[in-house]
Symmetry: C2
Subunit: 331 residues, 2 copies
């Protein structure tokens, strides 16, 4: 295992220290937790937004904490759901009296622990609502999931629900818009290589030198097919077509595109994929309103990428364009 770390069992703790010291005017860590919140939290009268999950997907989710996006990120151990008490601390830290909204990626552990935390907070009199993100069209049910997995499309939920809350939306407004994003966002990924969880010390699976896995999850969960590596154009076509099969976009529809790197894929390759995604959408008469290329939801040092499409309307466009001061999503 080649990693720039100290103790494999302290990577999350060490990372949080480095995060807070990088953005001391924006972030604070709730004492004795793995929760990162905005420095000025809670914001009185604003709905508080909380997301999180296992670590190892950076910049998700702490990189999305900031004005216009999340109020808190709960950072679990690597690829491990945060415990209910940690999520509960996050909810309490961002409760400004207008309720707290949870954005949960659809993994069984995350859903269970966030919901338990919500119950604890509700018992304290804090109003809590939630959305479950399940944008990955690759597989129904998976190693850690009932239903579809939540992957990079989650970033669009953070951005748009965050903008709604920042604009003074009520808890119900935020829930409604978050559900609208979830209904209109689809993703699919592929991997060329595995990654190594520090505490495990070895890769969670193996791929042969000429192999890739299509539909791979962000924790290395199996995808739909393992086969010989094809070209960037074929990969882009396969991912985009699978998404389009599920979205029923029509000529003239507008979308946001995200081409997301899983960790060790050079930005050069992500742009090559984007060129083909662009061609495919243009051929179908689908208008690309905005494109995001980079590392938004990673899987440690896994090589591979995902493609996300979000169908837009005027309301979603306005919220997508709103100001964000989160370090990993500046608008």
């Amino acid at each position: 295992m080649k990693k720039i770390i100290n103790d494999p069992n302290l990577v999350v703790q060490d990372m949080l220290k480095g995060l807070v010291s990088a953005y001391p005017n924006s972030f604070k860590q709730v004492p004795n937790t793995t929760v990162i919140v905005r420095k000025d939290a809670p914001a009185t009268g604003k709905v508080g937004l909380v997301s999180g999950g296992g670590s190892g997907h950076e910049p998700a989710h702490a990189g999305y904490v900031g004005k216009g996006m999340l109020d808190a990120a709960v950072c679990g151990e690597v690829f491990t759901s945060p415990t209910p008490d940690q999520v509960y601390e996050a909810i309490k830290a961002v409760d400004g009296g207008a309720g707290v909204f949870l954005i949960i990626k659809n993994y069984t552990g995350d859903v269970m622990n966030f919901e338990m935390a919500a119950e604890l907070a509700q018992a304290d009199g804090i109003e809590v609502e939630q959305v479950i993100v399940n944008d990955d069209v690759a597989v129904e049910d998976s190693s850690f999931t009932t239903g579809r997995r939540g992957i990079a499309g989650t970033i669009f939920v953070h951005k748009i629900a965050g903008a709604k809350a920042e604009a003074g939306g009520s808890l119900q407004d935020v829930k409604t818009i978050a559900e609208k994003v979830v209904a209109n966002v689809r993703s699919m990924g592929m991997a060329l290589s595995p990654c190594t969880v520090p505490a495990a010390g070895k890769p969670s699976f193996e791929l042969a030198d000429n192999e890739m896995e299509v539909g791979m999850g962000i924790h290395g969960e199996p995808g739909t097919e393992r086969k010989a590596i094809t070209t960037a154009d074929e990969i882009a076509t396969e991912l985009t077509q699978k998404i389009l099969d599920d979205m029923h976009l029509s000529n003239g529809d507008e979308v946001a595109v995200m081409v997301n790197g899983l960790g060790s894929t050079p930005e050069m390759e992500l742009y090559i994929v984007n060129g083909k995604v662009n061609d495919i959408l243009k051929e179908k008469g689908i208008n690309i309103y905005k494109t995001f290329v980079g590392e938004y939801m990673t899987s440690l040092e896994m090589a591979g990428c995902s493609v996300t499409l979000l169908k837009l309307d005027d309301e979603l466009k306005e919220l997508l364009n709103a100001e964000s001061q989160a370090p990993a999503f500046r608008n």
Copy 2:
């Protein structure tokens, strides 16, 4: 070689297509070149800023094209200096009558080809000035360099010189401030693994399973020492100390810090390094004004990182904070 590409010989061309299609309102490609310029170039009366070099260092340099930073980036073949005629095309494309300023990383090929291009443009009556960035304290002279190499510190030159030009600075003003940044910026890197140039098809060097190389260049040029991997804290200490030995910072001085990933290092690890860099500087009474953690100057999928320190004064702080609309550096 596991890469998401089409033809290994067309990676730069394919990347440029994907770049321009990602930012159609910000970027255009000068026809029949590998030059990316701002959509609105040339800006009449503004000094035009041009940088570039071999590709494979994305987001450098095209990601820094935008209001407040570069006007053009010349994208050579992977790890290969762009030819003089390409640089010449970039100069002509951004000449708005106030002269053109070249930001060159100190590699023999880059310096030669940018200077030849400057002569061609000067023969056309375009005023051209330049700065050579040599921030890497690791080694004097190297495989492709006489003197010190230019690495991630170059991004601060783009940012600060770009802000000066945007604010209406003359060609001489831009040169003066760029030279001030170069005089005050130092970097050093290390690598855990090599990378593979697509057209070569195999890694340019090898490191054993337990080995790292300290002082490694961004093209895999040899560093100062090859040894067993140490901890993140020890790596951060070694890089930072080597930089500090060369900078003579005093108690109370202010710096900007950049912890840069070389391609496949998880953001988690960069934050772990940042935590220690922060500790070291605080212990010495050096104030950290602003921190940048992420991938700014990569080396394809090389694993490793670099640390950069920029000593600041009020003038540099103001320019560092100025607006930037470049995709890879939003301010």
